[in-house]
């Protein structure tokens, strides 16, 4: 992929720079920055025109970050916790665009819980990234709903509540693509992002993304060092673009393949035990075991490529709705006459 145009240009003749955004104002070392960088790489490598992407976000450091990549993509940085509804309306404007949502754990699991659950239920075609650091970065480090029970932070004291697990929530809500990644593991993150971008429906990625300013204690879940020491991938995941053939050494014994709507493929190579990514309950089982073992399990937990997306459900025109000319959205004089006649 990429670099095919020479001079670091991709197939569209665009350099990576053309996928960047405004200078970042995130703290140095923030996990969100690493996610931003991977998004840039992935979209560039996938040869997607930035104008063919829409971005959405809520409020928070994570939600600010879309300003720092893909400045040639239309973006709406909306309200705290309300990215899902904004995106749901906007995908109808031009359904040929790829929609990406960026949110934080506070934005999604605290104030945004309702919209988060409901966008999954509707299978809105959106790559939905939760940049999960267990705290509210932008308001200076209060516990979010994903903070571990018992986590102790200097200014906040001890968190007494059970955490929200984004992956469990996504499974309970029948999301059609559910993954977890770690912003410290960029190789896997990139592959998962690509796979998710090829999914036609809601793709939830819970990305553990450390907040270096407020929650990066070595012994705690959302830190870099904990992640590095405890990350275990369910499988080795590789994304194969639509036009490429899967490499020759594809071994059906240890490899599974999922074909996506756009013809791309996800190839999963077994690492430990087999995990059937078409069974939700297996994913829940994995999660329970991971919790018991105290590991950070990453990878694709579940996928369903059959459910129709909201765009399909609503049966809208092929042509983007926002390109329809006036005559195609205003019925005729005769139509009004008919209506008048139908009335009593």
């Amino acid at each position: 992929m990429a670099k095919r145009g020479g001079n670091g240009q991709n197939e569209l003749g665009l350099t990576k720079d053309e996928y960047r955004g405004a200078p970042s104002t995130l703290c140095k070392g923030c996990g969100h920055q690493s996610i931003a960088n991977q998004v840039i790489s992935v979209v560039y490598e996938m040869d997607v025109l930035p104008e063919k992407i829409m971005k959405f976000s809520g409020i928070g450091c994570s939600s600010k970050s879309p300003a720092y990549f893909l400045s040639r993509s239309f973006t709406f940085n909306g309200l705290h916790g309300r990215m899902p509804s904004l995106a749901t309306g906007a995908v109808f404007a031009d359904h040929t665009l790829k929609a990406m949502g960026f949110s934080g754990d506070g934005d999604t699991a605290s104030i945004g819980m309702g919209q988060f659950k409901h966008i999954m239920r509707r299978n809105v075609p959106l790559l939905y990234i939760v940049e999960n650091n267990g705290v509210y970065g932008l308001t200076k480090g209060q516990f979010s709903a994903t903070a571990d029970q018992g986590l102790e932070l200097k200014k906040q004291g001890l968190n007494p509540y059970m955490p929200v697990d984004i992956v469990r929530e996504a499974l309970a809500s029948n999301a059609t693509f559910v993954a977890r990644a770690f912003s410290g593991d960029v190789k896997q993150l990139r592959e998962i992002l690509k796979a998710a971008l090829s999914h036609e429906g809601i793709a939830i990625i819970d990305i553990i993304s450390p907040c270096v300013s407020f929650n990066n204690q070595d012994d705690a879940l959302h830190s870099y060092s904990w992640g590095r020491d405890h990350e275990v991938a369910i499988h080795d995941l590789a994304y194969v673009p639509p036009r490429e053939e899967i490499e020759v050494d594809y071994d059906k014994e240890v490899m599974k393949k999922v074909t996506m709507h756009d013809g791309s493929k996800i190839v999963l190579q077994k690492i430990g035990e087999e995990h059937d990514i078409s069974k939700r309950v297996d994913a829940v089982n994995l999660l329970d075991r991971a919790d018991e073992e105290g590991i950070l399990l990453t990878g694709l937990f579940y996928i369903d490529t059959e459910q129709p997306s909201l765009i399909d459900i609503k049966g809208i025109t092929e042509e983007p709705l926002n390109r329809l000319t006036n005559d195609r959205i205003r019925p005729s004089r005769e139509d009004l006459q008919d209506v008048n006649e139908m009335l009593f």
Binding site: S85, G89, N322, N326, I329
Partner: protein, 609 residues
């Protein structure tokens, strides 16, 4: 045997009352009485007689008293009247109350299964053996409760001379021509009418008589009209959440859009209607769609509007077009969810924290619901701002007489949306929030535009003219001043008020929305009592110069509205501070539509002072 002798004696020489009375029908809700009531009002309408119907119902699904009041008025007065001339008493729980409402000489039709005889002797009364008549019909068992309500339709056929072929026409419409239910209901109406003719002696003075006053007119609710208007306005996205009394608007969109708005070539939809999980999401979706370049809307009522507050502010400040229908009910809080009010005006106007000024449209008839249904999109897209259309339960839910809808007289105005080619013309100096034309309205691009300079970053935070994040005080001031300017520009786009003058009027009545029939009737009465008035029916905020002139031109202005605090009176006081001395608030909300009588009383007593 039938009517009370005393009453009879007293009224013997009384003239016949033709096409000028009001009927209150008391039934049990959820019993299907709504079909009967609609059949009656439609039949009267088709007899060419001006008629209106108001449903006074509880916040409940089944089993509670509910009232339908029908006003028949040869003079075309269609406001609610405080008390009925005729009562149809079919509800055990409210029976006595309903009977007590009648003035002496009034007419009572009642189910003798509830009470064998009534005590009042100063009224005409006819008992109906409802159960017997239903049993005698060939209605299937499981439908007997339902068709029982048709009995009183039959009684009106016999007693008031409601024309039976019109009744058939009404049934046919109601059941969309399905023969079975039409026949079933028609038969029991017929048999009841026959029974009445045979067994009751008509002694009361009330009659219906064919007129020609409703020719070319239609009977429709504001919600249905709004939905049709939106369909012809090219609505492309509707996000909504069920709430009384706004639900009907979405229901009707779901009826009309598939009929009117499938792409002829592909048969695919040029619209999407999404039932959201709540109002925060409903408006959020509409904001997303509006930002995306779609004609987007949502509809709700008070509690939902409250929940939309934060998004309303985002739409105002990010300059996103969308249309928000607020079919008002009685607040504060859950209030009286099935009763009408005009209590959300101030709230809608200022909706959102910080300095906001929202555009309001105020339809006063189903015709205007239709018209603002499409026109609101033109205004919203032209101004790139949310437009609030404030209807109310009375207008939205009840059947009103209207002229036929006229096709929009102007081309759709999509506002300053620019595409790839247009952008070229800007030669690299396009900025999302640049006031190029001096009207406060910038140019906007929408997603899908493939020009590499088309994208911009929408946000609720401070921004400069190029939509870049900014905390700079000057940028902030400039942007807010531009928004203020845009609001001034809005005045020129607002529908003008409707004026009506009377000779030698010194006082003006300023009102809006569904109170119009009561206001117009009140004006006639006031004139008769020596107080001629001019009237201005407001149709939008911001106010236009016509409003200023009207106020200036009169000695006294009565601002009539259906809320406690005189909300438009307040906004007018702020708009025309130099004239506050002459503006008097005539405001009341108790859940019922205003009556002409009440308006007359208020104004008369103040004029006497």
């Amino acid at each position: 045997m039938t009517a009370s002798d005393t009453a009879l004696a007293e009224q013997e020489n009384r003239e016949q009352v033709v096409n000028d009375f009001s009927i209150t029908i008391g039934t049990v809700n959820g019993s299907g009485s709504q079909t009967s009531n609609l059949t009656i009002i439609r039949s009267i309408f088709k007899m060419g007689i001006p008629v209106s119907g108001k449903n006074i119902y509880p916040s409940n699904i089944q089993g509670m008293p509910t009232w339908y009041t029908i006003r028949v008025s040869k003079d075309g007065y269609l406001a609610r009247v405080p008390e009925p001339d005729i009562v149809v008493a079919m509800c055990p729980e409210s029976f006595q109350e309903d009977v007590d409402r009648l003035p002496p000489g009034g007419l009572l039709i009642y189910d003798q299964g509830i009470r064998a005889e009534v005590e009042r002797e100063d009224i005409f009364s006819y008992p109906l053996p409802v159960q017997k008549l239903v049993r005698a019909s060939d209605a299937p068992r499981n439908l007997q409760d339902y068709v029982a309500n048709m009995v009183y339709v039959g009684a009106l056929v016999a007693l008031l001379e409601l024309e039976i072929d019109k009744v058939h026409q009404a049934l046919d419409f109601h059941f969309s021509g399905r023969e079975k239910p039409v026949d079933l209901n028609y038969k029991i109406i017929q048999s009841t009418a026959e029974w009445c003719s045979e067994n009751l002696e008509k002694v009361d003075p009330y009659h219906l008589e064919r007129m020609e006053a409703t020719k070319n007119l239609k009977l429709v609710s504001g919600n249905e009209a709004a939905a049709i208007g939106a369909a012809f306005g090219g609505v492309q996205f509707m996000g909504w959440y069920p709430i009384t009394p706004a639900t009907g608007l979405a229901d009707m969109l779901k009826v009309y859009l598939p009929k009117l708005r499938k792409d002829p070539e592909t048969g695919k939809n040029t619209f999407a209607v999404v039932q959201a999980e709540d109002e925060l999401a409903a408006i959020g979706m509409a904001v997303g769609a509006g930002w995306g370049g779609l004609r987007a809307m949502t509809s709700t009522s008070g509690p939902g509007l409250s929940l939309m507050t934060e998004f309303a502010g985002l739409a105002y400040y990010s300059e996103t077009p969308l249309v928000i229908w607020d079919v008002q009910r009685v607040g504060p809080s859950t209030g009286l969810p099935t009763r009408t009010s005009q209590g959300d005006v101030i709230m809608a106007h200022y909706l959102g924290h910080g300095d906001t000024q929202n555009i309001l449209l105020l339809p006063g008839s189903p015709y205007e619901c239709f018209k603002f249904g499409w026109r609101s999109f033109d205004i919203a897209e032209r101004l790139q701002t949310p437009v609030y259309v404030l209807s109310d339960l009375d207008l939205g839910v009840n059947q009103w007489i209207t002229e036929e809808f006229e096709y929009p007289e102007v081309e759709m105005d999509r506002g300053k949306v620019i595409w790839e080619d247009d952008l070229e013309a800007f030669e690299g100096d396009w900025g999302r929030y640049l006031d190029v034309d001096g009207d406060g309205i910038p140019y906007r691009t929408v997603p899908g535009n493939k020009h590499p300079e088309s994208a911009w970053f929408a946000r609720g935070t401070g921004h400069d003219e190029y939509a870049r994040y900014s905390e700079d005080p000057e940028d902030f001031l400039k942007n807010m001043e531009r928004l203020r300017k845009k609001y001034e520009t809005a005045r020129s786009l607002m529908p003008e008020p409707v004026l009506d003058e009377m000779e030698s009027a010194e006082v003006g009545i300023l009102a809006y929305g569904s109170t119009d029939p009561a206001v117009q009737e009140a004006r006639d009465h006031l004139r008769d009592r020596g107080i001629p008035t001019d009237s201005l029916r407001l149709r939008a905020i911001p106010f236009t110069s016509v409003v200023h002139e009207f106020i200036k031109a009169h000695r006294q202005i009565y601002v009539v509205e259906m809320n406690r605090d005189g909300q438009v009176h307040k906004l007018l006081s702020l708009e025309v501070p130099e004239e506050t001395g002459k503006m008097v608030s005539v405001a009341k909300v108790d859940g019922l539509p205003l009556t002409a009588e009440w308006i007359v009383d208020q104004i008369e007593s103040m004029e006497e002072k």
